[in-house]
């Protein structure tokens, strides 16, 4: 059976919130042992140190909130987003945006194309596909920082317009984040990009 200490840690007052577990930091300082998945994990955007100052008693005493919920309630995001909730598999595929077609413009090309970002899993796949589509051009591939064989000597930088209307270099953010925020793509002639100080690109290793 658990030690006395352990017992004290775990039993909660009927209907009350379990303060003990949040107050005792059995892990290293700043490290939230305190339960929770996802939202409370290291590396997540919302740090758990926020919960230390939480006045947990202020909440409706009838409502017994799990720790991850407390966390979510405090987050600046207005919608409650708890990892693994709601428990529906592949809901993103069921969502209204079931495919993500964006226009692709290439400087100097007479017409635009459209690609569905949903069918790719990584930047590499996207860039390869774009190269196929606009086969007479070469696209400067920052991800590997190696040049693809030049055909006619003109290099292009892949850029995209994000939700805020800003033009960004492809490859800085995780792939999924890129898919969500990308509104359109533009392959910009490298010569134009020179002045933007983009000679040493970001290295983004992960594909998903």
């Amino acid at each position: 059976m658990s030690s006395e200490n352990g017992k004290r840690l775990l039993e909660t007052d009927a209907g009350g919130l379990n303060f003990e577990a949040t107050e005792l930091t059995l892990g290293l300082p700043g490290e939230p042992r305190v339960t929770s998945d996802g939202g409370a994990k290291l590396g997540s955007k919302r740090g758990f140190s926020e919960t230390v100052d939480l006045k947990l008693g202020d909440n409706n005493q009838e409502v017994k909130l799990g720790h991850s919920l407390q966390e979510a309630a405090k987050s600046p995001v207005s919608k409650t987003q708890v990892v693994g909730w709601p428990p529906v598999r592949g809901f993103a595929k069921r969502g209204k945006k079931s495919c993500k077609y964006v226009k692709v413009a290439v400087d100097g090309a007479p017409y635009l194309r459209k690609v569905d970002l949903e069918i790719y899993n990584s930047y590499q796949q996207l860039l390869t596909s774009l190269e196929d589509m606009f086969s007479c051009f070469t696209i400067r591939n920052y991800l590997n920082e190696k040049k693809i064989d030049q055909v006619n000597g003109i290099e292009y930088m892949p850029t995209y317009e994000d939700k805020d209307g800003d033009w960004m270099l492809v490859g800085d953010v995780p792939w999924q984040m890129f898919v969500e925020s990308c509104k359109r793509l533009r392959l910009m002639k490298s010569s134009e990009a020179v002045g933007l100080g983009l000679t040493t690109g970001p290295k983004y290793a992960s594909t998903n």
């Binding site: 339960t35 799990g66 069918i119």
Partner: protein, 572 residues
Amino acid sequence: MNYFPDEVVEHVFDFITSHKDRNSVSLVCKSWYKIERYSRQRVFIGNCYSITPQRLIARFPGLKSLTLKGKPHFADFNLVPHDWGGFVDPWIKALAKSRIGLEELRLKRMVVSDDSLELLSKSFPNFKSLVLVSCEGFTTDGVAAIAANCRFLRELDLQENEVEDHRGHWLSCFPESCTSLVSLNFACLKGEINLASLERLVARSPNLKSLRLNRVVPLDTLQKLLMRAPQLVDLGIGSYVDDPSSEVFTKLKAVIQLCNSIRSLSGFLEVAPCCMSAIYPICENLTFLNLSYAPGLQGNDLTKLVQHCRKLQRLWILDCIGDKGLGVVASTCKELQELRVFPSDPFDAGNAAVTEEGLVLISAGCPKLNSLLYFCHQMTNAALITVAKNCTNFIRFRLCILDPVKADPVTNQPLDEGFGAIVRSNKSLKRLSLSGLLTDQVFLYIGMYAKKLEMLSIAFAGDSNKGMLYVLNGCNKLRKLEIRDCPFGDVALLEDMGKYETMRSLWMSSCEVTLGACKTLAKKMPSLNVEIINESEQLEFSLDDRLLVDKMYLYRTLVGHRKDKPEYVLLL
């Protein structure tokens, strides 16, 4: 039975097909055990870590069909980290080395590699059927190997897998000599395929009964495919977009009239609502309709469609159908047994698409209802009590109120009484998922009344250890228990350790269980594997027994610790 020769007993056993029954039969005496094991062809292994492939092969040399499940159910909701386990490779390797004439492999939540698929395709000359559900780790190259090498392939069924798509050629790998296909489902693949190859494949598959296409297959190809395969029983439509006045669409309408065997319809991954009228002629005979992947259809499109489906037994639909739409279902689909209502926008609480009203209407109109999965924005005790009065045949009852810990909005009470009514009146209930604001009381009811319950999913519920104890003590048939974010701790975990040997598995995450308690359990119960999943880098396991564990997964096993665990899993 002692006076009968083995062959006679074996012949009798041929009529015993359910896994449970065959398992029981094998326990009667040594002689029956022996006869049963030599004659067994189909084996189901609910947890791939409960036994090794070597022992499986040793016991059942006549094995033809194997079903394996890997990761725990909560892996579907991203609660299990990547690379946790569930690799099928050792199984395929072991089977390939043996003399087993494998014909059918069904996997769920397992990690499958292209190499495994290739080995599978080359090792079993009579291989007929591959079904992969919620698996990952392979690409279309692996699928191509199956297509190319399995000469007598009847079934290739890919459901909801994460497949890296190398686009195009896998379908062309079916040799011209392959004419045995009965079922082909590639709806979950995202990439392009060779449409001409698909047409030729369907044309040379006279036994094809089930065809589920992915979203890149356009409407005009669909029309051509249906021309070739009017005998289809199960159809999954990929892209369903065209101009209703076009010639292709007119042809499609004509050919659909010929497809009077279709009983099951799904897909519509891309859809133009104005084209739906062409489908109405087949609606009459449909028994299964799955529109849960068709977000392009609005509430009234769905309602109009459903009005034609009088014989429907199973309906999977998005919540944009609304309560009114469910009312139409209730008055039209009198044969309905299973209903699944999925959220079209899980995070948008503002757009309350279905509520308790829809469920009440369904319960009143569909007397045969026995299986429910219902995502809604709110639920009341009164509604659940009414549902419990109307429906007493539930086998599966899974309710998910999108806002966790939400109380009854009318009375502000927890939903204990509502769920209590459900378990009291549905004595055959095997599976239950709870949600909403719930206290220990609901678990008291479950322990008292849900005597046939086999699987229970709990989230953000309960007040104390008592809740979990009510369930463990009362539900004698419990096989799978999965709990997240509940105040259940060591006292509940350790009260009846022997109980876990009667169950397949227990999952507890974000609860109040300490490392020390898990160690105690693991020490006292060598027949259980107690796994701690710990993802934070700084935590060292040797630290404090009082530490609360993030995620614990325990399961009974005959073969001790698994050898393939990742670094972040601690096996106690």
